[in-house]
């Protein structure tokens, strides 16, 4: 560790303003603060400082994504007929190019922006870059992923002012762009299965509708509830296993990064809407199916709870969460063109969250005003 510190200190002058590679200052700063917690202290006044800065926070989110990621690898392999360790390795190799494209393109744009604006490279993309491959179908062509990432980083994030200023969740903007730009490639029966022939994978003739599409068209699915919960169903790379997502969610809640209010109310909202549809006879399958199939759990745990784009007030979190869940199920059941409604629901509620916050704050002010008694 000490040797690393010395190395970083030695090359530092080269990368600071005026040094030979001064134009890479923001990149160097990003790597240095990634390796070591910066030991800056507040100069004036009293502030509570915590070593758990944004880089450490983002790291925990990625850690929480690992179970779902590993299961996604395994499931990718198992969907093309592999078993055990071979399935895991197959999936890992399969998703690696997508992950690399996501990070190279996204971080590349971030570094260019940081350099132009003379800012530090923000940490936000650390998580976004990991999320993007997990919410794409595994056979999405790489150049489409690259285009989606570029669109999301530039128009979803940088035009608003960078990390922490974005209105919409960047990972979902990438997903939405690819979905609407390449609809024929992003839906249908082939894209959910890997198409690489290696390690003896049986890719020929493997195709089929996802559980969501089956539920939307026939009202039932060919998998058992247990399979859907554990994740042995086709779907976007990291979204299938509700169990692994909940494991990650538990870590996020334990570390206090995600809000339990949002998470809980998304599930409640989805369930309530599901029961409503069941009661009026629009759907025949049990309402809790909605929470197990498709991207519902993934969206609820990792997307809706995004601290930047979600509501900021506690009451707002309940409202936005509930409406996200309800809207997702509404889109799934009522609109036949979109078997998956979670992406649209979260993006829509991202747009409404500031308005909800505004009314919550206004209501609070009015309530307090009414409490005041004017003494004459």
């Amino acid at each position: 560790m000490k040797a690393l510190r010395n190395l970083v200190d030695n090359v530092k002058p080269t990368f600071t303003e005026g040094g030979k590679l001064g134009f890479l200052a923001s990149l160097f700063d990003a790597i240095e603060t990634f390796l070591f917690v910066p030991n800056t202290t507040t100069k004036k006044g009293a502030h509570v400082r915590d070593c758990n800065d944004m880089k450490r926070t983002m790291f925990f989110v990625v850690l929480a994504l690992i179970p779902a990621f590993l299961f996604g690898c395994y499931n990718t392999g198992s969907q093309v007929g592999l078993e055990g360790f071979a399935a895991l390795m197959y999936g890992l190799v399969r998703v690696l190019p997508m992950l690399a494209v996501s990070y190279v393109v996204g971080l590349g744009i971030e570094v260019i922006y940081a350099q132009i604006r003379k800012e530090e490279v923000a940490e936000g993309y650390f998580v976004t870059g990991f999320l993007i491959p997990m919410i794409m179908p595994v056979s999405t062509p790489l150049w489409m992923v690259a285009l989606g990432v570029a669109f999301a980083v530039i128009f979803g994030k940088e035009v608003f002012g960078g990390t922490g200023m974005n209105i919409f969740n960047p990972a979902l903007v990438a997903r939405a762009f690819v979905f609407f730009a390449f609809t024929p490639q992003m839906s249908g029966e082939k894209v959910w299965y890997s198409d690489w022939t290696m390690m003896g994978a049986q890719v020929d003739g493997v195709s089929g509708a996802t559980a969501l599409e089956q539920l939307a068209t026939t009202g039932q699915m060919q998998w058992s509830v247990m399979d859907a919960f554990l994740g042995f169903i086709p779907g976007s790379f990291g979204e299938t296993s509700t169990l692994c997502i909940l494991l990650g969610g538990a870590l996020l809640l334990y570390t206090g990064i995600a809000s339990w209010r949002t998470m809980l109310s998304v599930f409640v909202g989805g369930l309530a809407m599901g029961y409503l549809f069941q009661a009026v006879g629009l759907t025949e399958y049990p309402a809790y199916y909605h929470l197990l199939v498709g991207g519902f759990a993934f969206g609820a745990v990792f997307m809706a709870t995004d601290p930047v784009t979600s509501a900021q007030t506690n009451m707002g979190k309940y409202i936005v969460g509930f409406m996200t869940g309800a809207l997702a199920v509404l889109v799934r059941v009522v609109n036949p063109a979109y078997p998956e409604g979670m992406m649209l629901a979260i993006l829509f509620m991202n747009a409404l969250a500031p308005t909800v916050d505004y009314f919550v704050v206004e209501a609070n002010i009015n309530r307090r005003k009414n409490r005041v008694k004017i003494v004459k």
């Binding site: 062509p141 762009f177 609407f180 730009a181 390449f182």
Partner: protein, 206 residues
């Protein structure tokens, strides 16, 4: 003749990207180059002659009824253009559908008549109309260029991206379907404004 009337609206005083007028039709007719081109020409003709006629009449119209007179003149011109298109380029006229008729509601035309033609000489007003029409047409063509190239792989219906590149024919490429939706046209207009302002610092809002 004042050359600034003609060149000003092309960049520094562009109706779409600086005055933010006429956005609606810019989103509606820019899926392909050909309708965008025809629409651009039609608007040039209407703005130019509306400006000319109103400038000739400007001293005889009581200001209380000037809006009605303007509307009559513009409507007459729009109907002329519409009938002309139907007679000579029927296909494009069908593609443009209601949007030719809706030129009458294009804010650029009323805007220029109100702001310029009513207070200036006929020839200057005519040039101002041509300039603003050209500025509008230029942005339309830029937007349509990107939308048609990436959304359909063609330009003026001539294939640019070879058929063999497409996934259906064993290639890797696919049209960017979102380009055909109006929201993407709005984003392209936004990008044009972004690029334009970064080259024209004096236009940047504080």
């Amino acid at each position: 003749m004042n050359l600034k009337n003609l060149t000003g609206p092309l960049s520094a005083n562009n109706p779409i990207i600086v005055q933010i007028l006429g956005i609606c039709s810019a989103l509606a007719v820019t899926v392909k180059m050909e309708p965008a081109f025809v629409m651009g020409l039609s608007v040039i003709v209407v703005t130019a002659f509306a400006n000319l006629v109103m400038s000739l009449l400007r001293k005889g119209i009581p200001s209380r009824i000037r809006i009605i007179v303007q509307l009559v003149v513009i409507a007459a011109l729009v109907i002329l253009v519409d009938q002309f298109l139907k007679a000579f380029v029927y296909d494009v006229s069908k593609q443009l559908s209601v949007y030719v008729g809706l030129i009458i509601t294009n804010c650029i035309i009323m805007g220029r008549v109100e702001a310029y033609a009513l207070g200036n000489k006929p020839w200057d007003s005519f040039m101002d109309g041509v300039g603003n029409g050209l500025g509008y047409a230029a942005i339309l063509l830029i937007v349509a260029f990107f939308r048609e190239l990436f959304g359909s792989g063609t330009l003026f219906d001539i294939r640019i991206i070879p058929e063999s590149w497409y996934i259906a024919n064993g290639g890797f490429y696919s049209n960017v379907g979102i380009m055909l939706f109006p929201p993407m046209a709005l984003i392209i207009v936004g990008v044009i404004i972004w690029v334009h302002r970064s080259f024209n610092k004096d236009l940047q809002e504080k």
